[in-house]
């Protein structure tokens, strides 16, 4: 005996077209738009913060690089202008070492003093001969 399955047929049903899909679609779009606006409003400032942080990091890197360069140049200048280096280059620079015989100075009384110089002979008044005889 063959037992056949029962399969209901519903071809007699005719589904009505639901005309509310446009409203649903519009509602979905509207919802998405609202969510997008909200997310944009929320994210945009953070995005600009992140962008600014990147820019700050880049600038900091540039500052570090320039500071390193400045430091290198500073040390180079120290090398070139150090007293031993200058002393070795005196002739080529047209300079001469300073010593006590080449410097004159003013005393607090306003007299010009030249170390090593001899007093001028005219500075001492000569005594009259006649008085000397006496």
């Amino acid at each position: 005996m063959k037992v056949g399955g029962y399969r209901p047929r519903n071809s007699w049903l005719r589904r009505q077209l639901d005309t509310r899909w446009r409203a649903w679609l519009i509602l979905c779009f509207a919802g998405a738009a609202v969510v997008s606006v909200l997310m944009t409003a929320f994210i945009a400032p953070r995005q600009s913060t992140v962008r600014m942080r990147y820019e700050i990091a880049e600038l900091q890197r540039a500052i570090d690089r320039l500071e390193g360069e400045q430091r290198r140049l500073l040390l180079d200048r120290e090398v070139l202008t150090s007293p031993p280096a200058l002393a070795a280059e005196l002739d080529s620079l047209g300079l001469a070492p300073l010593d006590g015989t080449r410097v004159a100075h003013l005393t607090p009384g306003g007299d010009l003093v030249t170390p090593g110089a001899k007093p001028t002979p005219t500075a001492t008044p000569r005594r009259p001969r006649r008085s000397a005889r006496r």
Partner: protein
């Protein structure tokens, strides 16, 4: 019934097990929370230190004596680089590290693990190497210590080793201050203990950049002193020479020079014998430069009137069957002339008027036999034995500057006490420490002076020392326009307990301008060959250093020849 009872037992057992599990969870997650979290962090995180920049050493006149430059080193690890990409890695790295690709290939073949491809490169190389994104190749930040003034004040500045640890001079003494504290970061690592990225970098403890040292040394004065010492060593054929220039009112060292010297940036060019600072490490007998302290002790003890005449015994004096010769047959001399003519017999007679305890007290008060406390790690204390070790001849020896060894810095400190009205100021190098922005962190104020002799005794002694330069053995130390006070000293070099003929030390210690000195200068010439008397060797050096320094610093002259 039976089934219900069994079920109940099973239920109780399960409940007990659940309780045990719950308790264990509480123990692990609540009670031992920190321990397990730390253990977990240890497994997945890797701490690493980033050294902060080392501080500078800056002179009084604003010159950088030691500074650091940021550099990078490029490393490679052949184990982590796929073999088939060695060639491309070598080609990419070649222009960055300045080595031919073939050399890099050879190095990759020769090494089994981590090695440095190149060191001391510009920091820009770091970005270029990072752009290669090659596993097994990277950069490490390091520093190069630069000494822009070469050997100028080399022994004072000192040097650091390859690990960045101070080894000598101020670099060693102030290593912790200069070095600062490293920053500690934590970064995630994978199961193979490698760090795939540095994205999740976490600062664990913030470091502190090294502080800079502002020191009292004046580069210009230091240069003058070193020039004059080198000239003297060349002219006299001396083994070496040293000099100290300090401000007696504060103890600040304007110059501390030692010849031969060394360049801390090129250590390989100098031998170990050049690397010691004669100014603080050489303990030598001071010779007649010690006589003023014998006179100071006698006047302070009230056993010598500065205006009295001293019997110089006509050429020498006999102490404990030993005859001490004088330079000439002096008879009665005023105390001022005992110093001016440097009479041995006069000084010995004065020394034997002072009791051993009183003499010892004054010598120790002047700081002999103990370190001055200057900020240099290799400073020696000199050699001075107290009265308990003295023989019958010891006071005579001390009067001649024997049985005691002093460093040039100790002698400068003692002469500074005379110049400073009897107040002893300990010499010092560092004036303040500064942070990276230049703000003062620690100012070092001079400590109040210690009175070693009464002010009137110091003033009388200083006036007597003027006589040494005006009419005595120190005439070569004269400085045009300035009144100078000082004392010569010629000592024989002692080796293995006896004096060696032909080996001498020439000293001159003095100060200017009188009557209120701004500079104390001590010159020591070790084993001059052609001439050895201090009057011919050390006094002229003092005169030249004093004249040039006085002009440079604009000291007000005390006298001069009017035009």
């Amino acid at each position: 019934m039976m089934n219900a009872a069994r079920l109940r037992w099973v239920g109780w057992a399960l409940a007990a097990w659940a309780c045990v599990v719950a308790l264990r969870l509480v123990q692990v997650q609540v009670v031992q929370h920190r321990t397990w979290e730390a253990g977990s962090a240890r497994q997945r995180e890797h701490p690493f230190e980033v050294e902060e920049p080392r501080g500078d050493i800056v002179s009084r006149d604003g010159r950088i004596l030691a500074g650091s430059l940021e550099r990078v080193a490029v490393y490679a690890n052949p184990r982590k680089i796929p073999h088939d990409s060695w060639s491309s890695v070598a080609t990419s790295l070649s222009p960055l590290v300045g080595l031919p690709a073939s050399t890099i290939m050879r190095q990759l073949r020769d090494h089994d693990g981590f090695f440095y491809l190149a060191k001391d490169l510009d920091p820009e190389i770091r970005d270029a190497v990072a752009k290669l994104q090659q596993r097994g190749v990277g950069t490490i930040r390091n520093e190069r210590r630069v000494y822009p003034h070469g050997s100028l004040a080399g022994p004072v500045v000192g040097f650091i080793n390859a690990e960045g640890d101070g080894q000598a001079g101020l670099e060693a003494f102030y290593d912790r201050t200069l070095r600062g504290l490293p920053s500690v970061y934590r970064v995630l690592q994978d199961g193979k203990k490698t760090t795939p990225t540095f994205i999740d970098l976490r600062l664990e403890s913030e470091g502190r950049p090294g502080q800079s040292l502002a020191i009292a040394l004046d580069c210009r004065v230091q240069e003058i002193v070193e020039q004059e010492l080198e000239r003297t060593v060349t002219e006299t054929g001396a083994k070496g020479a040293s000099a100290v220039v300090l401000d007696p009112s504060t103890g600040e060292l304007l110059a501390l020079a030692s010849v031969p010297s060394y360049d801390p940036g090129h250590l390989a060019q100098s031998g170990p014998q050049d690397r010691h600072d004669r100014g603080v490490e050489d303990a030598l007998e001071p010779g007649s430069t010690f006589k003023p302290f014998i006179v100071a002790a006698a006047i302070s003890a009230g056993v010598l009137d500065p205006s009295e005449m001293v019997d110089c015994s006509g050429g020498g004096v006999m102490i404990a069957n030993v005859f001490f010769h004088d330079h000439a047959r002096y008879g009665l001399l005023p105390v001022r002339e005992v110093l001016a003519k440097s009479s041995n017999a006069g000084a010995i007679r004065i020394a034997y008027r002072v009791g051993p305890g009183q003499l010892d007290d004054v010598i120790r008060r002047f700081g002999f036999g103990q370190p001055t406390g200057v900020e240099l790690p290799a400073e020696t204390r000199g050699i001075y034995r107290g009265p308990q070790s003295w023989s019958a001849l010891s006071r005579a020896g001390l009067a001649l500057g024997q049985e005691i060894s002093v460093t040039p810095l100790q002698l400068a400190q003692a002469y500074a006490a005379i110049a400073n009205g009897g107040l002893l100021m300990h010499p010092r190098l560092v004036r303040e420490t500064r942070d990276r922005s230049g703000a003062v962190v620690t100012p070092y104020k001079p400590q109040p002076g210690v009175r070693v002799i009464p002010a009137d005794v110091a003033a009388r002694l200083a006036t007597m020392l003027e006589g040494v330069v005006e009419e005595g053995t120190g005439k070569a130390a004269e400085v045009p326009g300035f009144t100078v006070a000082g004392k010569t000293g010629t000592a024989q070099r002692a080796f293995s307990g006896s004096y060696t003929a032909g080996r001498h030390v020439a000293w001159f210690a003095g100060f200017l301008p009188m009557p209120s000195p701004d500079l104390v200068i001590v010159v020591c010439v070790d084993e001059p060959v052609r001439q050895y008397w201090a009057a011919d060797v050390a006094a002229p050096v003092f005169g030249r250093i004093a004249a040039r320094t006085a002009i440079l610093l604009g000291l007000e002259p005390t006298s001069g020849v009017r035009v």
